[in-house]
């Protein structure tokens, strides 16, 4: 419960306490990179440079600072390492992680272009407020990766933080791009899995629902913000009319004049309020984008299942062929049946040879099926572990976000009460 005295709402006491608790447990138990390395994105800078096709362009670079968490052998405070990255490099890192760890829900990046913003906010990519919010988002992304039990141990990620110049080439050398499963994109709509895993189907569905409801929420929130902005700003007109009116009054003049100032304050206060609220929107947006990462894991699983089913189907077909060959019966009308009739029976020798080729193919196929089965099992196991982890993270984060949203609303109410109480005092003096 919030204490009623002033100012406490500005300091999210509750959530910072909760955060500390979590931080503590995290440091104790997670063997992640964060334990060894502290990191943050401390600065953003507008730059102009030439791109790959030698065109002049303006972009934003972000300063990543890292420093060892433990003090060095000499006991002094360690000197931070600093390097600059731009958004496209974050994107490259994420693509690499996505391809390399298909069974992990890779944390999303903050939006590339401002989406779901109310009309007073600029949609310009170089707008300082936007850049600042993106800086926060990028730092959040790094921290999420660094605290992930698996991702945090990735060497490419480590080099991203520590090797400014050579990193790009190292990523390319991994050849991750060859592994990009083109079918993930092209086939996703066309292939149908016969026996989908019910858990993944359910996951995909709830993911779609979350996506729908979050984007709707974000859209409506923008409209609510726009309207609230209007309500506050129109009150500013009282400020003007009170001040003009005060000029023609004697006893009432002073009270009106100062009440007018309070109305101006009231109208102006909405800017800060809505800017704060934008952080809440960012928290929701992260989970809107997370849904895409979850879906990507589901798609990958579907693809594996599809491959598995194809191999199984192939094997079944081959086994059927073998049976036909062995018994000499042709169950269905086929081209082969026709040729047999036209050209006569094939020799015993030919048949033996075909049978042995088939046997061999079946053997290979069985081997492949086993392999695929194993691969699928492994994937499901790893993916499900990460999904469980993600679910908990989501519930926790979103509850935290709701708390901070409620705190924001309380703070807004307190501001409102303050301004109107001040105005009331002035009216009372009239």
């Amino acid at each position: 419960m919030m204490s009623a005295d002033s100012g406490s709402c500005d300091d999210p006491l509750l959530s910072s306490e909760a955060e500390n608790n979590l931080r503590n447990t995290m440091v104790e138990k997670v063997a992640s990179l964060l334990k060894k390395l502290e990191m943050n994105v401390s600065e953003a800078e507008k730059r102009t440079g030439k791109n790959s096709v030698n065109m002049q362009e303006t972009y934003t670079a972000y300063l990543i600072e890292t420093r060892p968490a433990d003090s060095g052998p000499d006991g002094g405070t360690p000197v931070p390492d600093m390097l600059w990255r731009r958004y496209s490099e974050f994107e490259l890192l994420r693509t690499y992680l996505l391809v390399t760890y298909p069974f992990i829900i890779i944390p999303p990046l903050p939006e590339k272009r401002a989406e779901f913003v109310w009309h007073k906010l600029s949609a310009d990519n170089l707008d300082p407020d936007f850049v600042e919010r993106r800086r926060v988002g990028l730092e959040n992304f790094l921290l999420r990766v660094a605290s992930h039990p698996l991702l945090s141990n990735d060497n490419i990620f480590f080099l991203f933080l520590t090797d400014e110049k050579g990193w790009r080439d190292t990523v390319m050398e991994t050849g991750f791009q060859d592994k990009v499963d083109s079918r993930l994109k092209s086939l996703s709509a066309s292939f149908r899995v016969k026996n989908p895993d019910k858990r993944f189907t359910a996951l995909k569905q709830s993911c779609d629902e979350l996506h729908t409801v979050l984007s709707q929420l974000l859209r409506v929130r923008v409209r609510v913000a726009d309207r609230l902005y209007g309500v506050y700003k129109v009150h500013g007109n009282y400020g003007r009319v009170f001040s003009e009116w005060s000029a023609i009054e004697k006893e009432m003049g002073d009270g009106l004049q100062s009440a007018g100032h309070h109305m101006d304050t009231y109208a102006a206060s909405i800017d800060d309020i809505l800017e704060e609220e934008e952080h809440y929107a960012d928290q929701l947006k992260e989970y809107l984008y997370y849904t895409e990462a979850v879906r990507s894991v589901c798609r990958k699983h579907e693809l594996l299942q599809y491959e598995l089913e194809m191999v199984a189907q192939d094997l079944a077909y081959k086994k059927q062929q073998r049976e036909e060959l062995a018994t000499g019966t042709v169950r269905v009308f086929s081209l082969k049946g026709m040729t047999t009739k036209l050209f006569g029976q094939e020799s015993q020798e030919q048949r033996e040879q075909r049978l042995s080729t088939l046997e061999q193919a079946i053997g290979e196929c069985e081997e492949l099926l086993k392999e695929k089965n194993q691969e699928s099992q492994d994937f499901i196991q790893a993916a499900w572990k990460d999904i469980e982890r993600f679910k908990e993270q989501k519930d926790r984060d979103l509850r935290e976000a709701l708390i901070s949203y409620a705190i924001m609303q309380i703070s807004m109410c307190k501001k409102g009460i303050q301004v109107w109480s001040n105005a009331k005092e002035c009216f009372n003096k009239m």
């Binding site: 660094a146 309207r227 709701l402």
Partner: protein
């Protein structure tokens, strides 16, 4: 009433108006006799409905509760006059009457008084808007030098406003109450026999009133006949300018307030949808279901608070602004009459001066009488102006303080809705935390700091 009124005029308000021949009343035309007065006792339930019968049966408010309310009003007004006040009127209890000819609303008018002009200490009668209108015309006619408070607008656009809706009747009742209180508090108007009749008579005989109305119209036309003021005192010009400018401010405030109402109603539409999205989100979550339902219910509490705020603005705030616009019109009307009066005097004086130069006759008595009229008018107007300014200050202080109060209460309601949500969210979280300790912890997004 410090302004020296000549001839010990009505301004003192202690003598009944019928004893005084007001300078503006033509001497040969005595004040029209008051309407036929039949006294009705306050307990007379079926008080004088000439046509139509009350749809509901009324029970007269207990005298003590009425008195309490009146005393409360005194405190609010905080005026010096409240100490010596001896006439209390209240308009309440609207009732709809349906007859074959028409449908209309009557209001109960309760009077408590110690004045000797009244035979009984308390009265209760029912009046409809027309009767108020009659009273106002009578007052304007018999006290032309005084500012008569405005009535709420008579004509209502049919179809746009439902004349019988609860809100409309409520708003009109408040305005009528205000009107009658202003008249009853006036040191001169409150002694007007027409008011006495209005407050006490079982039946109002209004025919004479209507006949007089046409006469007044004619006399106004006559006076308006093209005199130009030679020297209008600067103070009246300043008053006129003030009224114009104040009326402009009121108009602006009215527009701003309506705009705010529009913005608030659009905000409300969006906010309702916003709340329902949280509800549908709650439906697709397990762990987050309760927190999200909590948010949805906080949002809907805020919606209700906003509805209340808007309703208050449109039913209590705006009508007062509009009453003052009408009040300003009444004031301007009196000032116009004053100007006409002065113009008449100047015209006659001029004519007399010319005649004197030609015929060497003294200034005739009727010119002097005219001068007296102007002076009386000035005195009355100044006194009314002072009173009006005091009332205005008091009314707006109350109105604006009320507006601030309503906004504060709106924010308080929203705040408590969000605070109770936090309690819910946090209880749940502590439970979770204890379970989670045993499991594998994970990184949590840092809460954004402000």
């Amino acid at each position: 009433m410090s302004v020296g009124a000549p001839r010990g005029l009505a301004s003192s308000g202690q003598k009944p108006i019928t004893d005084i021949i007001h300078p503006l009343c033509a001497a040969d035309e005595p004040l029209s006799p008051g309407p036929q007065v039949t006294v009705s006792t306050g307990r007379d339930k079926d008080n004088g409905m000439t046509n139509g019968t009350p749809v509901e049966t009324s029970s007269p408010a207990s005298a003590s509760s009425l008195l309490n309310r009146l005393q409360l009003d005194d405190d609010l007004d905080g005026d010096a006059s409240s100490e010596t006040r001896d006439l209390f009127v209240t308009v309440d209890d609207p009732k709809k009457h349906v007859s074959t000819m028409e449908t209309y609303i009557t209001y109960r008018i309760s009077t408590k008084t110690t004045r000797i002009e009244f035979d009984l200490p308390d009265y209760s009668v029912r009046r409809r808007y027309q009767d108020f209108d009659w009273l106002r015309i009578k007052l304007e006619d018999s006290q032309p030098t005084h500012l008569i408070p405005p009535l709420p607008e008579k004509f209502v656009m049919k179809g746009v406003v439902d004349r019988f809706s609860e809100e409309f009747v409520e708003t009109r009742m408040k305005a009528l109450d205000k009107f009658l209180k202003r008249v009853a508090d006036h040191p001169v108007l409150s002694f007007n026999p027409h008011l006495n009749a209005f407050l006490t008579a079982k039946d109002l005989n209004k025919r004479q009133g209507l006949a007089l109305l046409t006469k007044v119209g004619e006399s106004v036309k006559y006076v308006a006949g093209g005199y130009k003021l030679r020297a209008r005192p600067a103070e009246y010009t300043a008053m006129g300018e003030y009224l114009d400018s104040f009326s402009g401010k009121l108009g602006t405030m009215d527009r701003i307030t309506q705009r705010i109402l529009k913005e608030q109603s659009e905000y409300l539409t969006e906010l309702r949808e916003y709340g329902s999205v949280y509800s549908s989100w709650a439906a697709v979550e397990d762990e987050l279901q309760r927190p999200l339902e909590g948010v949805a219910s906080s949002v809907s509490t805020c919606c209700r608070a906003m509805e209340e705020l808007s309703e208050n603005t449109s039913q209590d705030f705006l009508p007062v602004l509009r009453e003052y616009v009408l009040y300003i019109e009444s004031m301007k009307n009196v000032m116009r009459k004053r100007d006409q009066c002065q113009a008449e005097y100047e015209g006659r004086l001029e004519a007399a001066v010319v005649r004197r130069q030609e015929e060497r006759t003294p200034i005739p008595a009727d010119v002097e009488k005219c001068q007296d009229k102007v002076e009386c008018f000035n005195a009355d107007l100044k006194a009314d102006w002072e009173r009006w300014q005091r009332n205005k200050r008091q009314d707006f202080k109350q109105l604006l303080t009320g507006m601030a109060d309503k906004n504060i209460s709106y924010y308080e309601k929203c705040q408590s809705a969000w605070e109770s949500l936090i309690t819910v969210l946090q209880e749940k979280q502590t439970e979770d935390k204890s379970i989670l300790r045993q499991e594998e912890p994970f990184y949590q997004a840092p809460p954004v700091r402000y």
